[in-house]
């Protein structure tokens, strides 16, 4: 498969797809790359340069780091101030600013914040440190939620009472509905997140096509994958169709991953969630079920973070909805740079602003 990974970076195939896209794009169309990892892939491989001018690629709110609400980060930070707490987190969250601070800054101030690659490492940490309270910051969409569900199930099975999860997980399909209903947002088609689709399959997106007549294609992350996804969307639009298709066939089966979905359903239930810059989108959160309340950090600890506040001038919300392009934000490249980020879109490794700033010369 090493060869196959290279195969999905084959320049000949890329060129072939670009020709097809150019043929099919007979009018200006706006496609949203929902997933932050797509934003990075497009920037990193310079794919925007290859697209015909009729195709505009907008970044969406698919960066779970970027859309974590200020108040949730503030809460995580407040937990690090509790005696005995070790906060374990994915590396992605370290630099993201909350209302007043970031996990990285708290760590520099002496709080016990540790980066793990897998939530199971956090469970093991709890086993290794019986006198401490290990709290795992659960961030991510459906791709990641099953892993955290397994972490909670594992902790329960091992009888670890010093492990808990602060769940700020979110789900994608209903968020896309909110975007489609947003009068400021005008999207002709969705490049659907490949690995979220690995878990949920294409079915949960059908309503976008059937109810709203907006096409979507579940797309992978190698350059050929992205181009294939764009081609399938351009073709649908040209032919006046609106369907949910799968380009990323090797990563997405017709039924997704039922085992993973079962684990999510076992441990989590839908709740309302606040998306940074967008507001509350009902039903898009994953809250830990009452049966697992013992591993829910939001219930275990009684802390009151200071009231959340937004930074004036920060346009992350508009960028996340595809209403504003990163370099159109007044702060982009001036007050807001990767060295001095104002909002999460610039600081997150897969934030749109960071991707634009790092890989392109827009707005410089």
């Amino acid at each position: 498969m090493t060869d196959l990974q290279a195969a999905w970076r084959d320049p000949e195939l890329a060129k072939h797809l670009v020709d097809l896209i150019t043929q099919a794009a007979d009018r200006p169309i706006k496609l949203m790359e929902v997933c932050g990892t797509h934003t990075v892939a497009i920037a990193r491989f310079g794919l925007r340069d290859l697209m015909p001018p009729n195709i505009a690629l907008l970044s969406g709110p698919g960066c779970p780091v970027c859309v974590t609400a200020n108040r949730d980060i503030d809460l995580a930070i407040e937990l690090t101030h509790v005696d005995g707490v070790v906060l374990a987190t994915f590396g992605d969250m370290m630099k993201v600013p909350g209302s007043y601070s970031s996990l990285q800054r708290e760590k520099a101030d002496g709080r016990d914040v540790r980066i793990v690659y897998s939530p199971l490492d956090a469970v093991q940490l709890a086993a290794d440190l019986p006198d401490r309270q290990v709290v795992f910051l659960g961030v991510g969409f459906e791709t990641t939620a099953p892993a955290i569900a397994m972490a909670i199930l594992t902790a329960a099975q091992r009888g670890l009472d010093n492990f808990s999860v602060l769940s700020v997980h979110k789900t994608v399909p209903l968020a896309l509905e909110a975007l489609v209903n947003d009068p400021e947002v005008a999207i002709d088609g969705f490049i659907l997140p490949g690995h979220v689709s690995t878990i949920i399959g294409p079915e949960p997106y059908r309503f976008l096509a059937e109810r709203y007549h907006v096409p979507g294609v579940a797309t992978g992350f190698e350059p050929v994958d992205v181009l294939q996804g764009v081609w399938m969307l351009a073709k649908q639009l040209h032919e006046g169709r609106a369907e949910i298709e799968v380009a990323y066939r090797r990563g997405v089966s017709a039924d997704g991953n039922p085992t993973a979905r079962a684990r999510i359903a076992e441990v989590f239930e839908p709740s309302d969630a606040e998306w940074r810059g967008i507001g509350v989108i009902p039903g898009t959160g994953l809250a830990i079920r009452p049966e697992f309340a013992a591993w829910d950090a939001a219930l275990r600890f009684d802390v009151t973070p200071p009231p959340p506040k937004e930074i004036p001038g920060c346009q992350c919300g508009e960028v996340l909805r595809g209403v504003t392009l990163p370099f159109e934000c007044k702060l982009f490249g001036r007050a807001c740079t990767p060295e001095h980020p104002i909002g999460p879109c610039m600081v997150s490794s897969e934030g749109s602003c960071a991707a634009y700033y790092r890989y392109t010369d827009y707005g410089r």
Binding site: A14, F45, P64, K95, R114, S349
Partner: protein
């Protein structure tokens, strides 16, 4: 040496300190000037301009696959001197030791230093040791300063790159950074990748012999190739374009970067050299690199062009172009 670990008393200037220095340090470095244990080393330098550099090493963990903090400390400073086109001659070494550090470990670090110094033909002629309380100092911190004499007539500078110049890289990217992080808690993975820390004075010398018009050398340490090339492009007011396909990277390093979500252009290297030479000297320079001990995988990876000033581009395998940006802060493993 009676104690098996470093004690505060070993830093206080008395007999215990003398015992530490004589039994542990001097015994290994075994240099005639050092043995005099004067406050300052009296040296005669050959005529010419001197290159003088200093660096401090704080890497954790101090032992990692392929090396340790001692190897880094000597190779790093030797390489910095070498980038000026100077033959590294003398090093000073300064240690901050944490109370409780095992003498055996210290010995291993010093043995590494002695070994690299010998390979590089550089003499450790003066040093200093301090001991700090347990809980401060992470085991051992090392400062090294190095001095060498610049080849006559040579004027290398990062501001000398010109459109049409070739950019050479002496070998595979990312080995050191990946070797070190593979041992970090919570991220362990199995790999044969070892740190590339190595003294490159010989390599630089060989390239200068073959390509006397060389503009500058730089070692892509912290911040990786990205920092290095961005600094060169800025200093010279030119742009540099890298051909992604030409850049040598080990499969395992590629795999580790994919796993962690790292950008290989931003991962630290400790035994690699970037050289910018006039276009017509590129093949000769490449051959010289490939013929030296640590340059077997050397490649021409890019070209210097007009502008915009300070811009570093990457041409991806489809001919698409994107920017190679500099690292901000540290690279952290990511799942997004």
């Amino acid at each position: 040496m009676r104690s098996d670990r470093v004690l505060l008393a070993h830093g206080s200037g008395g007999t215990m300190m003398r015992e530490l220095i004589e039994d542990v340090f001097v015994a290994r470095f075994n240099d005639e000037v050092l043995l005099r244990m004067d406050d300052a080393a009296a040296l005669t330098l050959p005529p010419g301009r001197i290159a003088f550099t200093t660096d401090t090493y704080v890497v954790t963990p101090r032992f990692f696959p392929g090396g340790d903090i001692g190897r880094l400390a000597v190779a790093g400073t030797v390489n910095d001197v070498a980038t000026s086109g100077a033959t590294p001659l003398y090093l000073s070494v300064g240690f901050v030791l944490e109370e409780g550090l095992m003498i055996e470990e210290l010995g291993r670090v010093l043995d590494s230093m002695a070994s690299v110094a010998k390979e590089a033909g550089v003499r450790i002629v003066t040093g200093d040791t301090k001991v700090v309380e347990r809980g401060h100092g992470d085991g051992v911190y090392i400062n090294t300063a190095g001095v060498g004499v610049i080849r006559e007539g040579l004027d290398l500078s990062s501001s000398h790159c010109r459109p049409g110049d070739a950019v050479l890289l002496s070998g595979t990217l990312g080995d050191h950074g990946i070797a070190v992080i593979s041992t970090r808690e919570g991220l362990t993975f199995g790999t044969d990748v070892v740190s590339d820390a190595a003294p490159l004075g010989g390599l630089v010398s060989a390239v200068l012999d073959a390509a006397p018009g060389a503009r500058c050398f730089r070692d892509p340490t912290r911040g990786g190739l990205a920092s290095c090339l961005n600094e060169l492009a800025s200093a010279s007011g030119v742009s540099i374009t890298v051909e992604e396909e030409s850049v040598p990277v080990r499969e395992q390093v590629r795999g580790a970067c994919e796993l962690l979500g790292y950008d290989v252009y931003q991962v630290a290297n400790e035994g690699k050299m970037v050289a910018v030479v006039p276009g017509d000297e590129a093949s000769a320079a490449l051959e010289a690199m490939r013929g030296s001990r640590y340059g077997g995988d050397a490649a021409i990876v890019g070209e210097v062009a007009e502008g915009p000033a300070g811009r570093v581009n990457v041409r991806t395998s489809f001919g698409a172009r994107r920017i190679m940006d500099m690292l901000v802060g540290e690279q952290l493993p990511r799942i997004c």
